[in-house]
C-alpha cells in the first residue's frame, strides 16, 4: 500500500499544476481501466476524475481518434496499431520520465519497434496475452494438444471463432504450420479455413457472448483470448485454455496519449497508475491478461494463471507475436475471408 500511495503522490506531483481534471479514456468495455479498483484509488489519490468511452473494434478506435480531436486523454491501442496511429499523428510521444513505474517494463516490450518509434515512446506496454482456444470442460473430457481440434468433426456445430479476417487467416497459418506474420502458402490457409467454416455454430462477438454460449453448452471449443479466459474462469465457468503444440498468436496492448489531448499530465498520471504492480495485483484477482511490467508479474500469487501458464518459458517459445499487417495484406485477407463467408 505504501508503494502505491508513494507512486501516486509522485505521479500527482509530476502532474504539472496538479489540478483536478476530467480525463477521458478510450478502451474496450470492462478491460481494466474502467473497473472500480482501477478508477477509485486513482481518483482519490489525484483528484482527477475518469470518464470512459468504448470501442468495439480497433478500427472504430482509430475512427474515433480521427473524428473527435481533443475528446480523449488516454487510449488503449493494440501494439499492431500503434505505428499506424503514430504515423497518422493521432498519438503523441510520452515522456517516460514522468512515469516512475516505467522502469519495471522489460526492454523486450518497452523497446519493441512497435512501441518505440524513432527513439520516442508512443505506447506504454500494458498487458500481453495469447489468442488461442479454450474447451468447454462440461462437454469435452480431455483438453486436446493440437489446434486440429477445431476441425474435428466430433465437435461439428459446436465450434466458434471470431468474425475477424486477420485472426482467421493467422489461425489458418498456425494450423498449416506457417509463420503468422508472413503467410507464404495462402491457398493452403484458404482451403483450411473453408474446411473450418462448416464446423462452426456462429461467430462470437464479445466476451459476454462467448461466456453465455459456453455456459449454455452450445459451444464445445472456441478460439479465445488468454486474458478473457482468466476472467471467465474467475467467474466460475468450467473451461480450459489450451496452448496447442502448433503455437499461439501473441499480442501486446499498450496505453497511449492522443496528440490532441488537453490533459496530458493527468493522462500520464493515469498511465503510471495503470502500470503500477499494486494495480496489476488487484486486476489479477478480477481476472486479467498478463502484465507487461515484470515487477508486477513477480508480485502475482504463485498459482495465478498469468504466472503459472504464461510465465512458463516453454509456452512463450511457442508463441508467435503479431507484427503490424500492411493495408494491402489486410485487404487481401478481408477479401479471402468475405469470399469464404459468402459461399456459406
Amino acid at each position: 500500500m505504501k508503494t502505491f500511495l508513494l507512486s501516486l503522490s509522485v505521479a500527482a506531483l509530476s502532474a504539472t499544476g496538479a489540478l483536478a481534471d476530467e480525463i477521458r479514456v478510450l478502451n474496450w468495455q470492462g478491460y481494466g481501466t474502467d473497473q472500480d479498483f482501477a478508477t477509485k484509488p486513482f481518483e482519490e489519490a489525484t483528484g482527477h476524475t475518469v470518464v470512459h468511452e468504448y470501442f468495439n473494434s480497433e478500427q472504430e478506435m482509430l475512427t474515433k481518434l480521427r473524428t473527435n480531436p481533443g475528446a480523449y486523454d488516454v487510449v488503449m491501442i493494440n501494439a499492431t496499431f500503434t505505428e499506424q496511429a503514430a504515423a497518422e499523428g493521432l498519438i503523441a510521444p510520452i515522456d517516460t520520465a514522468a512515469l516512475p513505474n516505467f522502469d519495471g517494463i522489460p526492454a523486450k516490450f518497452a523497446d519493441d519497434p512497435m512501441q518505440k518509434i524513432d527513439g520516442a515512446q508512443y505506447g506504454v506496454p500494458w498487458t500481453w496475452g495469447l489468442t488461442s482456444f479454450a474447451i468447454n470442460a462440461q462437454s469435452v473430457d480431455e483438453a486436446p494438444s493440437s489446434i486440429e481440434a477445431l476441425w474435428d468433426p466430433k465437435y461439428e456445430g459446436h465450434v466458434s471463432i471470431r468474425d475477424d479476417a486477420i485472426e482467421a487467416m493467422q489461425i489458418g497459418a498456425l494450423a498449416t504450420g506457417q509463420d503468422i506474420n508472413d503467410i507464404k502458402d495462402i491457398e493452403a490457409v484458404k482451403d483450411k479455413l473453408a474446411a473450418l467454416l462448416p464446423n462452426l455454430l456462429t461467430f462470437w462477438g464479445s466476451e459476454n457472448d462467448w461466456n453465455q454460449s459456453m455456459a449454455s453448452g452450445q459451444l464445445d471449443i472456441a478460439t479465445y483470448w488468454s486474458g478473457s479466459a482468466v476472467r471467465s474462469i474467475a467467474q466460475g465457468l468450467e473451461i480450459e485454455f489450451v496452448i496447442p503444440e502448433e503455437g499461439a498468436i501473441g499480442w501486446l496492448d499498450a496505453l497511449s496519449i492522443p496528440a490532441t489531448s488537453e490533459h496530458k499530465a493527468a493522462g500520464e498520471a493515469f498511465i503510471n497508475w495503470m502500470i503500477d504492480p499494486e494495480f496489476y495485483v488487484a486486476w489479477d484477482k478480477a481476472g486479467s491478461p498478463a502484465p507487461a511490467n515484470a515487477k508486477a508479474a513477480a508480485a502475482l500469487p504463485e498459482e495465478a494463471f498469468n504466472r503459472r501458464v504464461l510465465g512458463d518459458p516453454e509456452v512463450l517459445a511457442r508463441v508467435q507475436f503479431q507484427v503490424p499487417v500492411e493495408d494491402a495484406t489486410k485487404e487481401q485477407y478481408l477479401e479471402i475471408w468475405q469470399t469464404l463467408k459468402a459461399r456459406q
Partner: protein, 287 residues
C-alpha cells in the same frame, strides 16, 4: 392583372414550399451527395491528402464475384421476407378491416403496432433467446410434444427470415389495412346481392382495390430488407453474411468509406432497377 396574381401566387407557393425543400436539401440531399462524392475517391480527404478521383470502387463490384453473389443473396432474402410479410400481413389486414369492428379492432390494431414501439435491437435479441438451441421455443415444444425435438433454428437463414418478417410485418398490415378500409361497403353488398361467393368478392373486388396499398407495403419491406445487416449478423451466425453486412464491414471494420459508399450506391441502383422493372405492375394496380 392576371399576370400579377400569377406571380404573387407563385411567390406564395415558393414561400410555403421552401421549408420543405430546405429540409429535404439539408436532411436528404446533402448527406447523400457527400456519400456519392466519397464513392468516387481513392481515400477520404481527411485521412490522405493525396486523394484522387477514381471509378475503381465501382469497378470492384464488377470484378469481384463475391459482391455479386452477396447482392443476389440479399435480393433473395428481400423477396423471401416480402413474400412472408404479404402472406401473413394481408390476411391480418383483411380480417382487421372487414370483419372485426369497434373496440376489438382498436385493441388488435394496438397489438399490431406495439412491437414497433420497442427498439429493433431488443426485438432481435429477444428472438435470439427464443430461437437458440435449448431456448424458449424448444423448451415449449418439448413440453407440449411427447417426443424430443431439436429445431436448430438459431444461426440459420430461417432465423434471419423469421426475425426480419417480425420486424417488418406492421408495414404491410398498416398499408393494406388503410387500402381495405377505404373500399366502399356498397360494392361488397352489391356483389353479394348478385350472388358472388366470398372468394369471388376477395378476388374480383377487395384484392384489386387494395392492391396499391399491398404493393406499397411490399416495397416498404423489400427495400430496407435488401440492405439489412443487424438482423443477419445477430441471428444468422456463420450464414449471416449479406450485402448489408459487407457494407457495414467497409464502414466499421476496415474504414474503407469510399468502397462502402460505392457498394451502397450500387445497392441503391439495383433496388431502383428492380422497382423500375416492377413499375408496370405497380402502375396497373393504381388504375
Amino acid at each position: 392583372m392576371t399576370e400579377l396574381t400569377a406571380s404573387a401566387d407563385r411567390r406564395r407557393l415558393f414561400a410555403l414550399l421552401s421549408p420543405a425543400y430546405l429540409w429535404l436539401t439539408l436532411a436528404v440531399f446533402l448527406p447523400l451527395s457527400a456519400m456519392l462524392f466519397f464513392s468516387f475517391l481513392t481515400d477520404l480527404p481527411q485521412d490522405n491528402p493525396d486523394w484522387s478521383a477514381t471509378f475503381d470502387n465501382y469497378a470492384r463490384f464488377l470484378t469481384n464475384p463475391t459482391y455479386a453473389i452477396l447482392m443476389w443473396k440479399s435480393v433473395k432474402l428481400g423477396l423471401m421476407v416480402t413474400l412472408g410479410c404479404v402472406l401473413i400481413g394481408y390476411p391480418c389486414a383483411l380480417v382487421l378491416a372487414r370483419t372485426i369492428k369497434g373496440r376489438a379492432r382498436e385493441t388488435l390494431f394496438l397489438l399490431v403496432i406495439l412491437p414497433f414501439w420497442s427498439n429493433s435491437l431488443v426485438r432481435i435479441f429477444s428472438w435470439a433467446i427464443v430461437l437458440r438451441g435449448n431456448g424458449m421455443l424448444e423448451h415449449a415444444l418439448n413440453w407440449l410434444l411427447p417426443f424430443e425435438l431439436r429445431l436448430e433454428l438459431m444461426f440459420t437463414t430461417h432465423a434471419v427470415v423469421i426475425g426480419l418478417i417480425h420486424s417488418y410485418l406492421p408495414y404491410v398490415i398498416l398499408t393494406s389495412y388503410l387500402a381495405l378500409q377505404a373500399i366502399d361497403d356498397d360494392l361488397v353488398d352489391a356483389a353479394r346481392s348478385m350472388g358472388a361467393s366470398k372468394l369471388t368478392i376477395l378476388r374480383r373486388i377487395l384484392l384489386p382495390l387494395s392492391l396499391p396499398g399491398l404493393l406499397a407495403g411490399a416495397v416498404l419491406v423489400f427495400v430496407p430488407v435488401v440492405g439489412s445487416f443487424m438482423e443477419p449478423r445477430i441471428l444468422g451466425g456463420r450464414m449471416g453474411t449479406y450485402y448489408g453486412t459487407l457494407i457495414e464491414d467497409q464502414f466499421v471494420s476496415v474504414y474503407n468509406w469510399p468502397l462502402g459508399a460505392a457498394l451502397s450506391f450500387t445497392l441503391l441502383a439495383v433496388v431502383l432497377l428492380i422497382l423500375a422493372c416492377a413499375s408496370p405492375i405497380l402502375g396497373k394496380a393504381r388504375t
